[in-house]
Every structure is written in C-alpha cells, then in structure tokens.
Amino acid sequence: MLKSINKNLNKLYKFSGYVAAIFLILVAVFILIGICSRIFGFYIRGLAEYSGYCMASASFFALAYTFVEDGHIRITLFLERLSGLKKKVVEIWCLGVASFFSGYLAFYFVKMLIISYKFQERSEGADEILIWIPQSSVAIGSIIFFISVLHHFILINKKTK
C-alpha cells in the first residue's frame, strides 16, 4: 500500500518535470516566432506575455521534480558535519519548515487563482488573456511541490535512526 503510494507520487513528480520541460520548449518557440514575425512583418498579439507565462509555468511545474532530484540550493556546511540522530533531527526541522512554507505558498497561489477567476480578471498586457489561465499552472505546480516536500517530511520521520 505504502509502496504503491510512494511509487505513484514519484511518478507525479517526474510527470510534472516533463510538463515543465514542454513549457520550456514553448518559451523558445514563442520567442523564435517573435523573431520571425519581425523579419517577415506580421504581428501576433502578446507573444512576449505568452513566453513569460510559459516561463512561470516551467519554473513552477519543475519545483517538485527539482526538489526530489536534489536540485534546489541549500547550505549544507553544518548538516555535513552531523550524523546519526542529530542529522535526522536537523533534517526533520528543515523539512518541517519547508513543508510549512511550501504549503503557505501553494495556499496563496490557489487563493490568487480563485480571485482572478471570480472577477474574470484580464492581463494588462497586449495579450488581454484571462489571467487565471496561466495562473492555474503556477497554482498546480506549487501544490505538487508542497506534496513532494510533505512527502519527504513524512518519509524521514518514518525512517528508523
């Protein structure tokens, strides 16, 4: 039971990393279209904004994947000197604080999304897109990130020694 949960969660992180990678390709594609549009003299509204949204989506969808792959920067100078129980206690503290604030982040991104949706807010840029659409990927990405941090918080508490 527990093993299958672990497995599925790990799949989720990887999947969200792949989604992020696709958004990264889209960033490049939008900018390349922008260059072409200038050379050939056609105009597409809001290309710069679209690539910005893709950038935000790529960053937030990648959060959990980067986290489990140990890609986020932290200062380990102190942690490296510890071992055994002491190390575990400090790790619990780190993951506990991280769980709390990643949850905090996810909560307020969801709140921002709900407000944007309720008032049908539009972007102030040339794209005039309904802003909840790009904001939803940031909200989803930060929820998956919260899950991944909490998941590791639970895992380390279960670990003996």
Binding site: S51, M55, R74
Partner: protein, 436 residues
C-alpha cells in the same frame, strides 16, 4: 528602538534558516512572511503571491532558461575534445605550453555557457588527463583551471548577470556587453602569470614533443569553427542591437541544436537530458529569484535598506572605501554561499546604497560578478573547487592553495576595474551609439 530590535531579529532568523540547511528560496520566503507580519498589517500572503507571480512571469527572465539550455546542449557535444585538439597546437610554443589551453578553453566555453562549474567541467574533462600525460606540474595545471573557470560567470552569456539585471532592473544586453573586456582582461592576466611562472620554474615544465605545420594546425582547429561562429552570432546580435538578450538566447539554442546535429551528438537521449538539465537548473534559479523579490518587498517595510543607505551617505565615505568594504563583505559571504544566492540575498539591501552613492549600476554589476567569481575558488564553499575535487582526485585544500595566486590576480583585476571604470563601461557606451 523597537524597529532596530525587530530588524536584528529579522536578519537573525534569516541567517538561522539559511545556516541550518533550509533551502535558500524557502528560507527567503519564510523569513519575508514572518518579517512582514511583524512590520506591517498588510495581507502578507496575497502580497507574496502577486509579487512572485509578477517576477516569475516576466519576459526578461526568459533569457535565463534558454541560455542554460544552450550550454547544456553544447556540453553534450564533442566540444571538450575539440577544444583541446583545436587549441593545443597554437598554445604549445608559448612559455607555459598547454597550460594556456586551460585558460583560452575556459574563456571560449564561457562564451557559450553562463556557469563556471560547467566551464571547469567541460575544459577539465580533456585537459586534466592530457596534461597529466605530458607531465605538467599539478599545481599550475589545477590552479589555472580553477581560476579560469570563473570566467564562465563574467564572459557573456552569464547566468549571474541575468539574475543581477532582473533584480536591479537594468538592461541585460548592456550587462553582457560590459562583461566582455573585463573577461578578456582577466584571461590575459592569467596567461601572463602562467608565462612568468613557467619561466621561473622552467625545470619542472615538460619539453614540447609535438610539431605541427601551419596547415596541420588549421586542420585540427577546424572543428572549433562552428562554435566560434555561434559565439560571434549570439554576442554580435546583442551588441549590434539586432536581437535582445532573450532573442539571442533562443537563436543560440537553435544554433546549438543544429551544431550538435551535424556533429552527430544529437540523439533523443542527449536532447532529453539537456532539456531536463536546463529545466532543473533554471527552476532552481527562478525559485530563489522569486524568493528574493519577496524578500526585497519585506526588507522595504523594515526600512533597513533605506536607513543603511542614509547612514552610509552621512558617513561621507570615499567611494573607494565603500567599494573596498563591499569587496571584503562579498568575499566573506562567498565563502559560505554560492554566487547566485550571494547576489540575490543582498541586492535588496545593497541596491539603494549603491544608487545613493552614485555608482553606475552596470559597472557595479561587473564589479560584483568579479568579486563573486573570486568566491568560487575560496574554501570552504567554492563551487569550482568542488568540481575539481571530483575530477582531479585531489583534496580541496590542495586545489584551493594552487588556485590562490589566481585569486590574488583577480583582486588585481578588481582594482583595475575600480580605478578605470571604462574597462567595463566603454563597450556598452559604444553599443548605445551604434543603436541610436
């Protein structure tokens, strides 16, 4: 008085979070949330969400993942082989011989990659075994590699200059162009050092064995030509104003893909791993940048940056003294933090002070990057040292010691840039004239 106490509390919590090993970005977000609760009655979480959304979706930031991706693609081509093969015939006649391949190779790779760890890794992959085979002294071999690797941060494209540009809202194109001459200058200083060192230690240097005719030399360097064309195209398009930094980056990605296709190193596997590598790295950076904009917002409410700027102004320090103090500050900070975190964490406090003191923000960016570069080769936390430790099988103390002369040379470079700001500012000024 309570304000001062609260500020001290705020900074202490930040240092405690960072020191205990909480991820840098989350430390900044957490501390900022706590700080804002203490200093204002504004809705904290909502302000956080809007601020972070604003930075994360900004168009300027899109240059970041693209330049990272371009570097990742080229890193997976036969570049490190070609660098060694192409550069060595030209360098071996110089006093110091193939050691110069380290320096010139790093300077070239720096022009396609924005990170110094990647620069060290790519150049070192070939040059460490090849130079060892030819019996070059370890000390100068590793020292020159660690030192020149730092050029990755200065010669455009540079990740850290993108971060700085976004944080202080200055033109990334101008920052990139400003980094060129100081970068070349540092490379030349390093080369002069190697020449002098090898003349003094002539006995320990190996004899030259290989002879190449001029045609041979050209033949061996042919493989490097596409890369050089790519570099010139990317930087040239920024300099002439044909493309913005972001556009140049996307063209760079395209060029890198084409190049690796023709070198037959583009497979589904390398494409996927370069893309995922870029996704991870840029996510990590975007996240700490997001944290830092929230930190700036919270810092603003504490009044600390404003007060510090006023305090510095009232002291009527000479600009040289201020710059000297900042240099020491960043070197110490860099001993414990990586370069990007050091810049991002401090800009909220330092920026008003620098503007107040009347420094050119483009010039300050270059100064900052050189100083942060120096921190890459100082223990206990020096990323180039970490990379080399793994590659060369030597302990970090030894590598740090052999890189120390180059550290001193970089101090010299900083002094030159401080006394002659034109070293950094001349090129961007020409660029503006060109565009207008």
């Amino acid at each position: 008085m309570t304000e001062i106490l609260l500020t001290i509390f705020f900074i202490s919590v930040l240092l405690f979070f960072l020191g205990s090993g909480i991820w840098v970005a989350l430390s900044m977000i957490g501390v900022s949330a706590i700080g804002m609760m203490l200093f204002t009655s504004r809705p904290v979480g909502d302000a956080m969400a809007t601020t972070i959304w604003g930075t994360s979706s900004s168009w300027t930031l899109t240059a970041l993942p693209l330049f990272v991706w371009m570097g990742e693609i080229l890193f997976r081509t036969k570049l490190s082989e070609n660098l060694f093969k192409g550069l060595s015939p030209w360098m071996q006649k110089l006093p110091g011989g193939l050691i110069h391949v380290n320096i010139v190779g790093c300077a070239l790779f720096a022009a396609i990659s924005g990170s110094s760890a990647a620069t060290v890794a790519t150049v070192g992959k070939m040059s460490i075994p090849e130079l060892r085979k030819r019996k070059y002294p370890e000390k100068i071999l590793l020292g020159s590699l660690a030192g020149s690797g730092t050029l990755g941060l200065l010669i455009p494209p540079s990740i850290i200059l993108i971060i700085y540009g976004v944080a202080v809202q200055e033109s990334i194109a101008k920052l990139f162009i400003a980094g060129i001459i100081p970068g070349i200058m540092i490379a030349l200083i390093f080369m002069s050092y190697v020449i002098i060192w090898s003349l003094i230690n002539k006995k320990t240097m190996p004899k030259i064995l290989e002879e190449y005719s001029f045609i041979d030399k050209i033949k061996r360097s042919k493989q490097l030509l596409p890369v050089i064309i790519l570099i010139v195209a990317v930087i040239g398009s920024i300099y002439t104003g044909i493309a913005t930094a972001t556009e140049a980056a996307s063209l760079g990605v395209l060029g890198a893909l084409i190049l690796s296709y023709f070198q037959k190193s583009l497979t589904v596997e390398t494409f996927k791993s370069s893309l995922l590598g870029a996704t991870k790295t840029s996510c990590m950076i975007a996240f700490i940048l997001a944290g830092s904009t929230f930190l700036s917002l919270a810092m603003g409410f504490t009044g600390l940056p404003r007060n510090l700027a006023l305090w510095i102004q009232n002291m009527e320090l000479s600009p040289y003294v201020l710059i000297f103090v900042l240099m020491i500050f960043y070197i110490i900070l860099g001993m414990f933090l990586d370069g990007i975190s050091a810049v991002v964490l401090t800009m909220a406090i330092i920026e008003p002070m620098i503007r107040q003191a009347g420094f050119d923000m483009i010039w300050f960016g270059i100064f900052l990057v050189i100083v942060v570069e120096m921190a890459q080769i100082t223990p206990p936390v020096g990323f180039n040292l970490f990379v080399l430790q793994g590659m060369a099988n030597k302990d970090m103390g030894y590598i740090a010691k052999s890189a120390f002369p180059l550290f001193l040379l970089m101090v010299l470079a900083v002094i030159l840039v401080v006394i002659f700001p034109e070293i950094a500012l001349w090129m961007p000024e020409q660029m503006i004239k060109n565009i207008n």
